[in-house]
Symmetry: C2
Subunit: 492 residues, 2 copies
């Protein structure tokens, strides 16, 4: 079948790539660093997007759409932002091709169609959006402005990996404007909680909420809030960020508002985003050596029914029974497919749906019908069970909830077992290199120490957890005094 | 208020632009030819997108996502396509900016980061998609492949107009692959009917279904099906196209499949698309000198309630009554907003919601409450009526249906009155220049005549209607024999 995966223990990175390709989530494309999101992967993204979009709207946000291109000069306006973002970008310099006069059928860039100012394909949209906000915001009555955008962005990454790091990716970016610093901070924190809610309750992936150190902040932010998740190989993955941008962009683009007291003040900003990278996190967190394992709440297909039969007479018998079961599952709101294609044996189909991570598989044959049962296999634990076909929809509905819960509990247990408290540099190095996971250690609060630890161990400070316990200690690296532990890990 | 529109009779083009801006649908951006779709306009697009997406899925299509960039050499592969599309495009030539060594804070394109092959921002995705299909299609079992993509595309138009013609626009593009020519033609026709269904039943805009002449076909197509709508100024607008692409792209990208008979054959293709241009059509077809008029089925807001009161005591009385009405409207599935903001008088609010095209406005004051009524104004006819507040949700629900139907009937009557049959060149010129609308005339079937008519009158053949009546006649321009009438018009 050629469908075997490299096992996780042999080569985790290869296992991940195999899985994305064989699970039908994505494919490489002819454009360096860009991927094709295949229908199954896109259906997963649609389910994730729908839930997030609902959550954004429930918290008062509206969607809009801003241009793909950012004039080069706009990127220069906010210094920190330019430093962080205006580097590895796709640059549009011309607006026309023409027939090559020297080679029939070939095209060349028309040298006469050079743009006066280069356009950058958006790596993020703060600059172009704040330039629009300048015209939209006049008075306190125009605030808060709570806008989100679903879009594609491009960052010219040198080393790319499907979903985790691609030159083009899909994401949402929220960009809000507020009258006060307090309101903006509240918004940035609120969206962090929305992200955590989504990732934990829909993706079944526990996260640690925290703030980034100054070194790891978003370019142009005063504070970057983040959620950090743990993958099965012990590496951390940043699953979403929410930034308090202060008045940096308002000042760069001259966005002021008239207060109730008739004074002109600069506006306060946030931005926040999650991307198709979440699909990479989802895959790495739950899947196994047989294939994808998808949480029922966002799986494109929650159940599949495979008929077991010999000959057309048995097939007709099974078809009739399945017809009724399909109707009851659909009535219960379960997305289900009946795979009665005749070009593969049941065993092949079982393997195929395991690869695709369909949470529940139902098999049914003449014997089952005689006994009034169906065989149900759950993808997460691979347990199989004969259950009465009467009431099977309710059974599966409850089972889907149980699988969702089990995936979360399993990931939580693994994550919690992967947090190691260390109190010396030797312990630190040992934990990072041998055990992996999060290492909780005292740190002296300097960017210098952070940099040196990164150089020696490849571990970065993933976050300073929200509501972190204050306790005096000494930095594991420098021996200087410290007020709190922070979480280190190697990361994607 | 500065909210008056230029009237249609004074300057139709200016009326349209004013309306898009003052109705809050879109705004100009800092990037030449690119617009910002504002929240109200984007909410309209979301409603349209949701219905279309549902229709695509109900007809067996799935969504996927392909790269934004097309390598230049890909555009060269299909000759007709290259001729038509590889011209006015955004061309990415570099992948890095760097600090300008001569000017602090400025950025320049890094000359060392020049791409080996230029990348074109997709003007349409046939090339990049068919390159992927090459790997996805091996046997007849892989067919049909029914994929749609929601995406942004860029065409470097010289003269742009909000929604109607912008450098970047949002659209969907379906790209399907089939085993036979018949199946592909059936698909192209099916999607034309889906588009017509959507535009007529959701946008309340009657369309004429037809095929384009060879001159007007999509670059690379063997047949282009289209739906044509009529705007209030008598110009036609192409609202959607569906293309039978034959084996052109399969041959250009070498996409073959193994038939049941074990033979290698080239695959047959279609593509079809509609874009944010539809919003331009919607605005121009129904709106009036007071503002937008939006069909209830896709309006972002179907009803608005405006309180009429003096002082806080009356306000409290009205609030309580509205509270109950809001609940009953929401329960009936009506999207509704209570605008009790205290920064504008009722008259100002009335004008504002007329500008925004909200189909139904409800006004309610203490007198109304005393009499057990509310005042209901419909946007399409501007009629006002006092109706019992008891059962108002049912009343509004029925009224929304009536408005939807009325908009369609009104547009249909106008369209039908705007089709003129002519039998001589003088009649033709007179109809085009004085009356506008569609002109039904005999044509000799040559591209040459078509070109000359366009040069003299700016009218193009909008379509040869499907199921066109065959009748012998003579071409109005050349006097040569003709088998059928075709529809001419000046067009957007």
């Amino acid at each position: 079948m050629g469908n075997e995966l490299t096992s996780r223990s042999v080569d985790y990175a290869q296992w991940y790539n195999d899985l994305i390709l064989k699970g039908g989530l994505a494919d490489y494309s002819a454009v360096r660093g860009c991927m094709v999101i295949k229908p199954y992967g896109y259906a997963l993204w649609e389910n994730m997007k729908d839930e997030l979009d609902r959550m954004f709207k429930e918290t008062g946000h509206v969607n809009a759409y801003f241009p793909l291109f950012v004039p080069k000069s706009f990127l220069e306006k906010e210094e920190g932002h330019a430093e962080g973002f205006a580097k590895e970008c796709a640059v549009v310099t011309h607006y026309r091709l023409k027939a090559d006069p020297n080679q029939k059928g070939k095209l060349i860039v028309d040298p006469e169609a050079k743009l006066e100012e280069e356009l950058i394909v958006r790596p993020t949209s703060e600059a172009i959006i704040w330039n629009a906000y300048k015209d939209w915001i006049q008075s306190y009555r125009d605030l808060p402005l709570l806008i989100n955008q679903w879009a594609n962005v491009v960052r010219w990454e040198m080393r790319t990996r499907l979903f985790l790091r691609t030159a083009e990716f899909l994401w949402q970016e929220g960009h809000t404007a507020h009258a006060t610093s307090e309101e903006a901070i509240e918004e940035a924190e609120k969206m962090l909680h929305v992200y955590a809610d989504f990732v934990e309750n829909y993706m079944a992936l526990p996260v640690i909420k925290g703030v980034k150190t100054p070194n790891e902040r978003f370019a142009g932010a005063l504070e970057t809030y983040c959620i950090e998740a743990l993958m099965q190989d012990g590496k951390a993955l940043q699953a979403g960020t929410s930034h308090f941008l202060g008045q940096n962009f308002a000042k760069a683009f001259d966005v002021k508002y008239l207060t109730k007291e008739n004074k002109q003040e600069f506006v306060w900003a946030t931005s926040w985003g999650v991307s198709t990278r979440l699909i990479g996190a989802l895959v790495m967190a739950h899947s196994d050596d047989e294939g994808l394992v998808l949480p029922p709440k966002i799986a494109p297909l929650q159940a599949v029914i495979v008929p077991i039969y010999k000959g057309q007479e048995q097939k007709a018998l099974v078809d009739e029974k399945v017809h009724g079961i399909m109707a009851s599952l659909k009535a219960a709101g379960i997305s289900v497919k009946y795979d009665d294609s005749d070009n593969a044996r049941p065993g092949w189909k079982f393997a195929e749906y395991e690869m695709k991570g369909v949470p529940v598989r139902v098999a049914i044959g003449p014997k089952d019908i005689e006994n009034g049962v169906v065989e149900i296999a759950r993808r997460d634990t691979k347990e199989k069970k004969s259950v009465p076909s009467e009431g099977v929809a309710e059974y599966i509905k409850a089972l889907l909830d149980e699988i969702q819960q089990n995936l979360y509990s399993r990931a939580l247990a693994f994550r919690d077992a992967s947090i190691t408290e260390v109190n010396s540099w030797d312990e630190f190095k040992k934990a990072i290199s041998e055990k992996g996971g999060f290492v909780s250690a005292h740190w002296d609060g300097t960017g210098e120490t952070e940099e040196k630890i990164k150089e020696e161990t490849k571990a970065t400070i993933r976050c300073i957890p929200l509501n972190n316990k204050l306790e005096s200690g000494t930095c594991v690296f420098s021996g200087k005094p410290s007020q709190q532990r922070v979480l280190f890990a190697q990361a994607y």
